[in-house]
C-alpha cells in the first residue's frame, strides 16, 4: 500500500516537473493550464499527459513543410518556359532549403547536447582530478569540493540571472534581465545572439557549462588556504560582475564582439573563450594569489603534488572534454566544428610534446606533470583560435604554448615570488593571452570565410585583426584585475579570505568539510 502511494506521489512530482519544463514553449497554448490542474489525478492519467506534453511541439514543426507544399503553383505540371515557371522553381527551392535546414537540426542539436555534457565533464571529474592530484593529500577534498560545489551554485545562478546578463539585450556594455529565470528561453532556435538554429535551451545550457568551469579554474591560485565560504561568495560575485559582462562583450554583441560597429579596435576573434574564460580566470587567479598570500611553509615545506596519477587522468579528461568546449562552440555540427575539433587535438598534442621536451632538454627527464600541463596549455592556447586557424598553425600554437607556459610556471613565478599554487595564471592567463595574440596571426578566411585573415596570411590587412586581439586582451586584463581586486578587498574586510593558520596546517578537508580524502581501514 505504502509503495503504491509512493509511486503515485512520484508520478505527480514528475508530471509537475514536466509541465513546468514545458511552460515557456507553450505560453501561447492553453495546454499548460490543463496539465497543472490535473496534477493530482490518478497515476493512469499520467502517461497520456506526459505523452501529450512531449508531442505538443512536434505538429508545429512538422506541419510547416506540408503547408508550404500546398502553397504556390504545382511545379510538376509545368514545363520549363511556362509563364511563372521560374517563380515556382524559386518557391520550391526555398521550400527545399528550409526542409533541408530542418532536417539538419536534430544533428546539430545532438552534437550540442553532447558538447554541453563534455564541457560539464571538464569541471568534475576533469579539473577536480587535475587540480586534486596537485595539492597535498590533506587538501584534496578542498579542491574537489570547490569544483563540484561550483557545478551546483553556478548553474543555479546561470538560470536565475547569469544567462540573461550575458546574452540579454543590445546594450554593448551589459546584458539586461529580459531572460532572468530563463524567461523566453525555449525549444525554438535563433533567439539568442550567435545561437544559430539550435534550440535556445541548448544554447543556454551549453553556455552555462562555461560559467561553471571559469571560476573553477581560478581555484588553482588560492588552493590549500582559502576559506570555503569566501570562495563561494567570491565565485558568485565574480560570475555576475566579471564573467557575465565579458561574455556579453565578446559573444553577446558587446564592445569586444568582432565586426560590431561599436566594438573597440574592431573587436576580438574569440571562438571558444580565450578572453572570456581563460584570460579572465587566469588574470583573476594572479590577483587572488597576490592578495591572499603564500601558503604557510611556501618554499620550505614539502609541497609536492600528492598524486600525479590523478593529475594525468584529469588532464586526459580535460583534453576529451575540450572537444565539446571548442568544437561545440561552433554551435552546429558542420565542417567548421570538424576544424575546431582537429586543431584542438593537434594543439594539445604539440603542447604535451613541447613542454615535456623542454624539460627533457633542460634537466634530462621528461615528466608526467610536464606532459599533462603541456597538453592543457596547448588546449588553452587554441581555444580562441579553434574556428579560425588550420591544423598546421595549430601545431605551432600548441608547441609555443607548451614552451611559453613552462617558463611562466617556472621562471616567471619564481621571479615574481607569488604562490599561484596550481599555476592557474601560468597556464590559463599566459596560455590564453598567447592564444589570443596568435589567433590574430594565424586566423584565415580559408577556415572561416565570415571573418578575417591574420598577419601571417595578410601582413597589411591582418594588422588590424592583431591589434583588435591585443586591445581585447588588454581590456580583459584591466577589467579582470580591477574587478577581482575590488571583490577580494571587500571580502577580505567582511568575511576574510584565508582559513586560520591552525586550519591551514590541519588541511582544508578536515577544517572546512569535516572529512578526509583517504581513509585506510
Amino acid at each position: 500500500m505504502f509503495r503504491h502511494w509512493l509511486i503515485a506521489v512520484g508520478m505527480c512530482c514528475l508530471l509537475g516537473l514536466t509541465s513546468i519544463r514545458n511552460l515557456p514553449a507553450q505560453e501561447a497554448d492553453a495546454a499548460p493550464a490543463e496539465a497543472t490542474t490535473e496534477t493530482s489525478a490518478e497515476a493512469a492519467a499520467v502517461d497520456e499527459e506526459t505523452k501529450d506534453a512531449a508531442s505538443e511541439p512536434t505538429p508545429a514543426t512538422s506541419e510547416e513543410p506540408v503547408e508550404a507544399n500546398d502553397e504556390g503553383p504545382d511545379l510538376g505540371s509545368m514545363q520549363p518556359g511556362d509563364p511563372g515557371y521560374s517563380t515556382a522553381l524559386m518557391t520550391r527551392l526555398i521550400q527545399l532549403e528550409k526542409t533541408a535546414e530542418e532536417a539538419a537540426l536534430p544533428g546539430h542539436n545532438a552534437w550540442m547536447l553532447a558538447s554541453s555534457a563534455l564541457v560539464l565533464f571538464m569541471t568534475v571529474p576533469g579539473l577536480a582530478m587535475f587540480y586534486g592530484g596537485l595539492v597535498r593529500k590533506k587538501n584534496v577534498l578542498g579542491v574537489v569540493m570547490q569544483c563540484i560545489f561550483l557545478m551546483g551554485v553556478m548553474t543555479v545562478l546561470w538560470g536565475l540571472v547569469g544567462y540573461s546578463l550575458a546574452f540579454g539585450g543590445d546594450n554593448p556594455y551589459i546584458g539586461n534581465l529580459d531572460h532572468a529565470l530563463l524567461t523566453g528561453v525555449t525549444m525554438t532556435g535563433g533567439e539568442a545572439p550567435m545561437s544559430g538554429s539550435i534550440p535556445t535551451l541548448t544554447f543556454m545550457v551549453f553556455q552555462g557549462m562555461f560559467f561553471i568551469i571559469t571560476p573553477a579554474l581560478i581555484c588553482g591560485a588560492f588552493a590549500e588556504r582559502m576559506k570555503f565560504s569566501t570562495m563561494v561568495v567570491f565565485s558568485i560575485i565574480w560570475g555576475i560582475v566579471i564573467y557575465c559582462p565579458l561574455c556579453h562583450w565578446v559573444w553577446g554583441g558587446g564592445i569586444l564582439a568582432f565586426g560590431e560597429d561599436h566594438a573597440l579596435a574592431g573587436g576580438a576573434l574569440d571562438f571558444a573563450g580565450g578572453t572570456v574564460v581563460h584570460i579572465s580566470s587566469g588574470v583573476s587567479a594572479l590577483v587572488c594569489a597576490l592578495l591572499i598570500g603564500r601558503r604557510l611553509g611556501f618554499g620550505t615545506d614539502d609541497m609536492r603534488p600528492h598524486n600525479l596519477t590523478y593529475t594525468a587522468l584529469g588532464a586526459g579528461m580535460l583534453w576529451v572534454g575540450w572537444f565539446g568546449f571548442n568544437a561545440g562552440s561552433e554551435l552546429a555540427s558542420d565542417g567548421l566544428a570538424a576544424n575546431a575539433f582537429v586543431v584542438t587535438h593537434f594543439s594539445a598534442a604539440a603542447g604535451a610534446v613541447s613542454w615535456a621536451m623542454i624539460e627533457w632538454i633542460t634537466r634530462g627527464k621528461a615528466s608526467v606533470l610536464g606532459a599533462a600541463s603541456g597538453a592543457v596549455a596547448g588546449l588553452v592556447c587554441i581555444t580562441p583560435a579553434a574556428g579560425f586557424v588550420q591544423p598546421m598553425p595549430a601545431l605551432v600554437m600548441g608547441a609555443s604554448a607548451g614552451i611559453v607556459c613552462y617558463f611562466a610556471c617556472s621562471k616567471l613565478k619564481a621571479a615574481g615570488g607569488y604562490d599561484d599554487s596550481l599555476d592557474a595564471f601560468g597556464v590559463h592567463g599566459v596560455g590564453g593571452t598567447l592564444g589570443a595574440v596568435l589567433t590574430g596571426v594565424f586566423a584565415t578566411t580559408q577556415v572561416n570565410p565570415g571573418y578575417a585573415n591574420g598577419v601571417f596570411y595578410d601582413p597589411s590587412g591582418g594588422m588590424s585583426v592583431l591589434i583588435g586581439q591585443i586591445v581585447a586582451v588588454l581590456v580583459t586584463f584591466v577589467f579582470s584585475i580591477v574587478g577581482t581586486f575590488i571583490i577580494l578587498k571587500i571580502l577580505d574586510a567582511t568575511m576574510g579570505l584565508r582559513v586560520s593558520q591552525e586550519q591551514e596546517t590541519v588541511g582544508l578537508d578536515l577544517s572546512q568539510h569535516g572529512e578526509e580524502g583517504y581513509i585506510f581501514l
Partner: protein, 112 residues
C-alpha cells in the same frame, strides 16, 4: 630472546624473507618506512620547482629469535640484503623481555 630490526632496500625484501624461512624463522613483521643515513636523498622537480627529498623509502623487517639463533639470523639478513652500495640499510639488535602467543597464552621462546 633478541629482537632484530633490519632496515633494507625494497627489492631485497623477498630475498631476505626467503633466506630467513630457509633458516627456520617462522614469522616476521614488515613495515614501509622512510628515513636517512649516509645515503643522500634525491631531488624532484615539479613545474620547475625543485624539492629535495631527504627521507628515502625503505622496508623495516622485525624478527624475534632465541639468543642461540641470533648469529644465524643476522648473518642470513646480512647476506641476503647486501649489495655493497651505500643505502643497503642497517640491522639493530635489542634484548627482548618476553613474547606471548595470544591464542594459547604460551610465553617466552615457546611463543615464537
Amino acid at each position: 630472546m633478541k629482537k632484530i630490526e633490519a632496515i633494507v632496500r625494497h627489492f631485497k625484501l623477498e630475498d631476505v624473507k626467503n633466506a630467513l624461512t630457509e633458516h627456520g624463522i617462522h614469522g616476521m613483521t614488515v613495515t614501509e618506512v622512510r628515513g636517512f643515513g649516509r645515503q643522500k636523498g634525491h631531488t624532484e622537480m615539479y613545474r620547475g620547482t625543485e624539492y629535495t627529498v631527504d627521507f628515502v623509502p625503505k622496508v623495516k623487517i622485525e624478527v624475534v629469535c632465541s639468543d642461540g639463533s641470533l648469529q644465524t639470523v643476522v648473518d642470513t639478513i646480512l647476506q641476503a640484503a647486501q649489495t655493497g652500495q651505500i643505502g643497503d640499510g642497517k640491522i639493530f639488535v635489542t634484548d627482548l623481555q618476553n613474547s606471548i602467543r595470544i591464542r594459547t597464552g604460551e610465553t617466552g621462546e615457546e611463543a615464537l
